[in-house]
Amino acid sequence: MKSSIFNTGLLAALLLGLGLPAFAMASAATPGASFVIEDEKEEAKDEESDEDEDKTRWYAVVGGDFHTGTGAVLKNATMLCKDGKIVELGYDVWIPEDAEVLDATGFRVYPGIVAIASTGLFGGGSDVTNTVDPYSQGMLLGLASGITSAVQGSEIAKLKRGSIDDLVMGSNFFQTMRYRSSTPSGKQELRQKLDEAAAYLRTLRAWRADRSKDKGKEPKATGIDMGLVAVLAGEKRAIFREDNRAGLLDIANLCMRYGFRPVIQGGREAWTVADELGRAGATVILTPRDRRAKDQSLIREGGTSIENAKILHASGVQVAVRSMSTGNNSMGGIAGRDVIHLPISASFAMRGGLSEQAALDSITIVPARLAGVDHRIGTLEVGKDADCVITDGNILNYATFVQWAIVDGAMVYDKQAEMYYAHIRPRPDDQLAPEARVDAGEEVEEMTGIDGEPIVKDAEEGEGDETPKEEEGEKEKSKED
């Protein structure tokens, strides 16, 4: 249907306008997930004694391979969660009798994905707290894709299906700045404001440090941009939207001069100035599949590169991956480009040479750091929130599905209990059945590791009856031979 966009601009506009983005999200109130609905909770409270209110909530994930995101992989380990926090992660873990237990043997456990930009995952408007629809299709599909927390607008919130409590973890963690050569006066103005903010901050700190009795009143902040003060004080991150090499260099110089670390959104030509951005301590939010031709009138390198993420990472720049579309437009029929395919976006960074660990970081801990919530989410560590996803393979592989998602130590998504993906490679009831442990993607990777080394090392566990045809082909060939 989209092919006629070449015929007339008007038709193109109409088709694009109507064809892709505007599919109403059906609210999918699917019962059966294993959380307690608020009303029921109320009733339960009435019936049960007060003791139960303070009862500790235990949840244990037993037997999976824990890809913690810290570099460590704990095979066949156990994670114990108490009241939504991870309290044990390792071996020989004591599990309380009243703990809810999920047997994840044969599966992998990853920290929940953190989407650095999203729209529509919370089923409401820009104000998550007051407009969230905890039964929305968006939230379900987000969890199904592995996302347990997402930035929407100026907030970062959890996808806590069935609950509206404690969703928002933080807000206004970015201070938007513009520093573009197209408006030289604007650049001058920003530098002046930063000078003023820096001067104010120095005065304020001196005043605070002054222990004498006659130190006077707190310095006045009249005319001072407090957002910039917060950036200089390290309380907020400054974010710039910039793609061009010259602009990126300007930003790097500005940030080194004033001593704060920039966040760059876009960064299409960032690979050409990776060292400068590394020195400035930049974090770049990029879309690996972004594409722009080099400006042929310039001699220097330019345009997009599939190797952008790899080159930046090698220069010490932290990389967060953002999907091409922050919405959920798979529902228009074209899957693979939106926020619910974030691991595929990250795997394009791997195509450009980014390591698997850095690719995982780019959709977990790096966005968590940007939003200032890395002490709570982004990796699986004792003391952090119990937000994780349990998958049937490498989370960065295109064929992998999330089987269960856990947020704040409670299961919020079970693939087989929901209508969307249950029919695709269904999970056998017996999780220990060989089929359950065969990961098609893993096998492909196993065969295709370029240096002859399988990317996935636990092949002996993943070995099942199903042999890919390539190998059958080999066998047939050798028979022929």
């Binding site: 029929g333 209508m419 080999e474």
Partner: protein, 443 residues
């Protein structure tokens, strides 16, 4: 002096580090053989080229899948031999390139491309203009085509749009060269038929203007014209006048050219099958084939019809505008998986580029697998190569690595269905047409 030398070395190292062409894979760099007599080995008029690889994906139609530890011999742009290393004797005069652990596979084939030209076609004047030729609009080697080439796409069918019932003739092109003459595989490459939806232009004129009548009448006129020529060729007599508007039907009747049919939704594809195949007997393939058409894939399979699916790759449960079909109210239905479930075997993929960028053709196969396509017997790789090639009627030239076919060869880091793997080199007609080590990596 010593210091300047050191500085120069450091600078060089820095440049090498900065440059995207350095250090892109852990395998040793590919060593392209030197030209002999000014001609690349393997190219037309040059000495032969032997490619050695640990894994060669043949992608033969219903034939062999892969050869491990194999050799391909290429001379004059044509594959001379392909087989296991121990079975192939490399002639002494052949230049050798060992690609190590990299894979070798046929170039990818795209049967629905709109970016190989300059958007200069106006196919919206008449509801049927079978004489219009997309070949007049080709722009060889433009940026979007080169991006596609870097993604491994070596053959494309560049076609008119779907704003009218019969939009004109497509042209089959190679993507690796800079002149039209070298790019052309076949002209006319196809006839474009579009049904329902787009040609209705539901929000403006003409609406549902008797379009099956229109298609049928046009095709019958064309067939009548072709029959006049066939009678003349057989029995002689008065030579008919050449009419460029109808010439394409002579090729269609000889099955040299196929109809690429923009067709989707159950009743529309059913019309294509019954009208074009059953009633008029013209060769066609299903292009798009999305929404609920997977439900009649069994009917298409009975008639040995090819399907080139996309750019939509899933049929989601939806309450939105595309509720025409209501085909999958309850689940995310993979389009290709649906076809496969109905026993359909000729599954190909398209991007409708630029709807999906040309270089992401491989992702269409990955998404198909994600959403349930069982990737046994290399269904996904064949859907990127031999199936679309046969759909377009060039399966005898490209789409698999077989003796006598064009040497359109990819050297990749692994199975190209996986988006994490990339193309390290593209060879077309025996010539290196994309070499990231030299020109920088584009994709």
């Amino acid at each position: 002096m010593k210091h300047t030398l050191k500085a120069a070395v450091a600078l060089l190292a820095l440049v090498a580090w900065q440059s995207p062409l350095a250090a892109q894979s852990t395998s040793p760099a590919l060593q392209v053989p030197e030209k002999v007599g000014g001609v690349e080995p393997g190219a037309v008029g040059g000495v032969g080229l032997a490619l050695i690889s640990k894994k060669i994906v043949l992608a033969e139609y219903q034939g062999r899948d892969v050869i491990n530890n194999g050799v391909i011999l290429v001379k004059d742009g044509i594959i001379q031999a392909v087989g296991a290393s121990k079975d192939i004797v490399i002639p002494a005069e052949y230049e050798v390139m060992d690609v190590g652990n990299r894979w070798i596979m046929p170039g990818l084939v795209e049967m629905h491309n709109h970016v190989a030209g300059r958007f200069g076609l106006n196919d919206m004047v008449y509801l049927a203009n079978p004489g219009l030729r997309a070949s007049a609009d080709v722009e060889p080697g433009n940026h979007l085509t080169k991006m596609g080439l870097a993604g491994g796409v070596t053959s494309v069918l560049y076609i008119p749009g779907s704003g009218t019932n019969v939009g004109g003739q497509g042209v089959l092109l190679r993507t690796g060269f800079d002149t039209y003459e070298r790019c052309e595989i076949r002209n006319p490459g196809s006839l474009k038929l579009a049904q329902a939806g787009n040609p209705e232009r539901w929000l403006m004129r003409p609406g549902r203007t008797l379009m099956n009548y229109n298609t049928r009448a046009t095709f019958k006129k064309g067939i009548a014209y072709a029959k006049t020529w066939e009678a003349f060729e057989k029995d002689g007599g008065v030579k008919p006048r050449v009419n460029p508007q109808w010439e394409i039907f002579r090729h269609l009747r000889k099955r040299e050219v196929h109809i690429s049919t923009h067709t989707q939704m159950y009743q529309v594809v059913m019309m294509t099958i019954t009208l074009v195949h059953d009633e008029l007997g013209l060769p066609f393939f299903i292009d798009h084939g999305t929404f609920d058409t997977w439900r009649l894939a069994g009917e298409a399979e009975k008639r040995e019809i090819f399907g080139v699916l996309g750019p939509r790759n899933v049929d989601p449960p939806n309450q939105g505008m595309i509720r025409w079909t209501g085909s999958s109210p309850e689940r995310m239905q993979g389009v290709a998986a649906g076809y496969q479930d109905q026993g359909f075997t000729r599954i190909g993929f398209n991007t409708d580029s630029p709807v999906i960028p040309q270089e992401e053709l491989q992702l269409q196969a990955a998404i198909a697998v994600r959403y349930g396509l069982r990737d046994k017997e290399m269904v996904s790789l064949r859907g990127l190569t031999i199936i679309p090639a046969m759909a377009g009627g060039i399966g005898d030239r490209v789409g698999s690595l077989e003796v006598g076919k064009d040497a359109d060869i990819l050297i990749t880091t692994g199975s190209i269905t996986n988006p994490q793997h990339s193309v390290d080199m593209v060879i077309q007609l025996g010539e290196v047409v994309y070499n990231p080590q030299e020109e920088g990596r584009r994709w």
